[in-house]
């Protein structure tokens, strides 16, 4: 893990501007260390407003060029400031942070994404594929235009099965990603990596409960330090004995074993 001033090599909007998705490529030193599912904590401004760093998943790793790609959606003040950064400028970055996904060595890997939950999954797909794993993507989005804007072509270029659902039926199965999964004949066993909104991840976890699939989910929570020091970003976990404990999304996660996660946030 490193704190470094990364140089921006590419930065710009991606796809239809209405989805406000941006692609940021950074030249960094620590590409060797990076594992799929990890994130970086970015300083978006040099001033004191916005004050905190912003966590963004690593959506692409190019070890030869020593580059990582981040994909992000313009949400509020912090990501808005970030969009103004220009190629050639530097961005202060802390990372790679957290525990990534387990990369299976063989068998089947299902990737289940909701919306922009797709972003951290590409490096996992690539590493698994390189190891000979059978990778299968299930991705739900609002409509075709969103999926294309959020990088569908990257996925279509991989040698994997890509199945999508859209709420408006403009592409793939009409419905959400659960509807898509239900239509699919599951393999006997394997691994699942899921990323998306909390209710969606809870539902996917539930869906695979009685199967032989081991589900890992990538959680999101507001972060302070990004290092496990401030306890700002916790989730709630229940161990096999039913005992509750907190997990730090930044350090113990963002990827957790889905069956341990207590999805109801009211604790």
């Amino acid at each position: 893990m490193l704190l470094e001033d990364a140089i921006i090599t590419e930065h710009g909007g991606m796809g239809d501007p209405q989805y406000k998705i941006w692609r940021l490529v950074l030249k960094i030193e620590m590409t060797k260390e990076v594992k799929p599912g990890q994130f970086v904590h970015l300083k978006v401004s040099t001033g004191r407003d916005p004050l905190l760093r912003r966590p963004i998943s690593i959506a692409g790793i190019d070890r030869d060029k020593q580059e990582i790609t981040l994909l992000y959606r313009l949400k509020g003040k912090g990501t808005e400031v970030l969009t103004q950064a220009k190629p050639g400028e530097k961005l202060n970055l802390l990372g790679p942070l957290g525990q990534g996904f387990t990369v299976p060595q063989s068998g089947t890997l299902y990737l289940v994404a909701g919306g922009i939950g797709i972003f951290p999954l590409l490096p996992l797909a690539q590493e698994a594929l390189a190891l000979g794993v059978t990778v299968h993507l299930f991705w739900g989005g609002g409509n075709q235009s969103f999926l294309e804007s959020a990088g569908l072509s990257f996925w279509q270029a991989l040698d994997i099965a890509v199945e999508v659902s859209t709420l408006d039926g403009s592409m793939g199965v009409q419905g959400n990603v659960l509807d898509l999964l239900r239509k699919h004949e599951l393999a006997e066993s394997g691994r699942v990596a899921v990323c998306g909104p909390m209710p969606m991840m809870a539902a996917v976890s539930e869906f695979f409960k009685e199967t032989n699939f081991e589900v890992e989910a990538s959680l999101e929570e507001r972060m302070g330090c990004g290092l496990g020091a401030c306890l700002g970003c916790v989730c709630t976990l229940r161990d096999e004995q039913g005992k509750l404990r907190r997990g730090k999304v930044c350090k113990d996660g963002p990827v957790f074993r889905a069956k341990e996660v207590v999805w109801d946030a009211a604790l």
């Binding site: 970003c233 404990r245 604790l267």
Partner: protein, 315 residues
């Protein structure tokens, strides 16, 4: 400006806060630096004047639900709610590693009754390998929590006296800024026998999600920290240092060495970095270097000479 390595030879960075001697005046603040290990890869622990550990309570606590954090203009609201492993687990699982930290480790204790504080003070002694005990009488996050001790002078005096009677460690009284008179609170802590005053803890604040029409924090209210509160913190250090004859650890919104020097000049003998670590995990190092260079530039040979310069008549 000279390279900092050379300066280290010429400027005396050691500061004495009553019974507590620190190799330099730059500490990290409780609750922002875990139990001292999390930042070690980025910020060499041995360079720090000391680390204030995450606040502990007698029993383990899960703390508040999320969201626990909300960013505000130049500030941060938090409502961690004193999540911690509890005294027993702290002693068995964390203290062994804490003892090995190559700097002063200060435990921070919070409680819900005088007995709570007494129990922890009894268990934490010089022999525990700690450098001091910081008594958090000001945590604003916990309902029916420390708030009461932190806003009523008589209660503050009582809890500090009780802690002081139980431990041989230097006792630091950590004050809440959510009071009409910070001087009255500091005087109460002094009467209770505190060796050192630390301030400020967080200002009680809140932020509302206007689309969801409810507070952002699950706990509704939280504690405000970061640069936004610095003017309030500096003012309180200024007031307390002139009214009470105890050394002060100043904190609240320190990000840069300039901010730290402001606290020293206002009357602090040491400073603590909290939220600043989240923005720049190497902040304490830059602050220490900056303070030394500042001393050099101003012809001051010991950092301790800066304390209170903004109000002391003759320097």
């Amino acid at each position: 400006m000279q390279p900092s390595k050379e300066l280290a030879k010429t400027i005396k960075t050691e500061v004495k806060l009553g019974p507590l001697t620190l190799k330099n005046p730059v500490l990290t603040a409780s609750g922002t630096y875990g139990f001292g290990e999390e930042y070690a890869e980025l910020c060499p622990v041995e360079r720090l004047g000391g680390i204030t550990l995450k606040g502990i309570t007698p029993e383990p606590r899960l703390g508040n639900p999320v969201p626990r954090l909300a960013e505000t203009p130049a500030g941060l609201l938090n409502s961690v709610g004193l999540e911690n492993p509890g005294l027993k687990e702290f002693i068995s699982s964390y203290l062994p590693k804490v003892r090995e930290l190559p700097t002063a480790a200060i435990a921070n204790i919070s409680g819900f009754s005088v007995e709570d504080y007494v129990q922890m003070a009894r268990a934490l002694q010089k022999a525990s390998g700690l450098a001091a005990l910081e008594v958090n009488i000001s945590c604003p996050n916990v309902k029916h929590g420390g708030m009461h001790f932190g806003t009523d002078p008589a209660s503050a005096e009582q809890v500090i006296a009780a802690v002081k009677a139980e431990t041989d460690l230097p006792v630091i009284a950590k004050l809440s800024p959510n009071v009409t008179s910070i001087v009255a609170m500091a005087q109460a802590a002094a009467r209770g026998g505190a060796d050192i005053i630390s301030l400020i803890n967080t200002l009680l604040g809140m932020s509302i999600d206007i689309e969801k029409q409810r507070p952002i924090l699950a706990n509704c209210v939280g504690g405000l920290s970061g640069p936004a509160v610095r003017p309030v913190a500096v003012r309180m250090v200024w007031e307390v240092s002139q009214a009470v004859d105890l050394p002060i650890i100043g904190m609240g919104g320190i990000l840069t060495w300039q901010d730290a020097v402001e606290f020293l000049l206002a009357g602090a003998s040491a400073v603590s970095i909290g939220t600043g670590n989240f923005v720049d995990p190497c902040a304490p190092l830059g602050i220490l270097d900056g303070i030394e260079e500042y001393c050099q530039r101003h012809g001051v040979s010991a950092v301790s000479e800066l304390t209170g310069r903004a109000w002391k008549k003759n320097h």
